[in-house]
């Protein structure tokens, strides 16, 4: 009986931490948005058939500094079937430019200074990421970015990449 107590306490402490990245029970279609960049097609819906990783970031968000190198890696690792898009929410575009000078991005940036796309995605925190499958549905979402969970995030990408269209 003595050793059960610490085990129970440990379970109570450990369990909640991992529920934040649980699968969404009800998969919902990803809200569409325009992509006005030179490299990409004109809207999210045009990317159906590919797995899309949408990341919402801003220059003042600290974990974003860690997420960009990882996103650059992912895009380079899966160039054909994965599309990473970073949506910037800075109210002032100069701040975003200053951030990108220090933290290079090899992925397209979409600017949403009014927060319209963020509202459509019902953003709960900064940064937030959404993994969209080949059919255009949101399958995984994460609030925050943790370097300890990079392999977990990559596993989720692989799961979606291996699915049929």
């Amino acid at each position: 009986m003595n050793f059960l107590k610490p085990v129970l306490v440990f379970c109570c402490l450990a369990l909640p931490v991992y529920t934040s990245s649980a699968l969404a029970d009800n998969v919902s279609p990803a809200p569409n948005f325009d992509i006005k960049t030179t490299q990409l097609k004109s809207s999210l819906q045009d990317l159906q058939g590919k797995v899309v990783y949408v990341d919402f970031w801003a220059s003042w968000c600290k974990p974003c500094r860690k997420s960009f190198p990882w996103m650059n890696n992912m895009q380079a690792k899966y160039p054909d079937d994965l599309q990473v898009i970073a949506i910037n929410l800075d109210a002032e575009p100069e701040l975003a430019a200053a951030f990108l000078d220090k933290v290079p991005a090899h992925i397209p940036i979409v600017y949403d200074p009014q927060g319209n796309i963020a509202k459509a995605y019902k953003l709960l925190g900064m940064p937030s990421s959404y993994l969209i499958d080949k059919k255009g549905n949101i399958r995984f979402s994460h609030k925050g970015f943790f370097t300890e969970r990079e392999s977990l995030y990559e596993n989720e990408i692989n799961t979606l990449l291996n699915e049929q269209e």
Binding site: A58, D90, A118
Partner: protein, 74 residues
Amino acid sequence: MRHKILKISALLLLIQLAGCANLGVQPWERDLLAKDEMALDSEGNDLGLDDHIYFSKEGTSGGRAFAGGGCGCN
């Protein structure tokens, strides 16, 4: 008078929570609040040193955090 102020404060605290649904910002509107100098404990050392001085030289202690933790300051 003293107890009235405290009872009012406690009530305000509860009302605040109920009314809090309407206050606040969207996660992407936290640019200014995210600055280091906007954190409540941004000058931790200064606040701690000040609290120690005032606890030793005045009759009241506490406020930002626990009032406890003693020293035999004369």
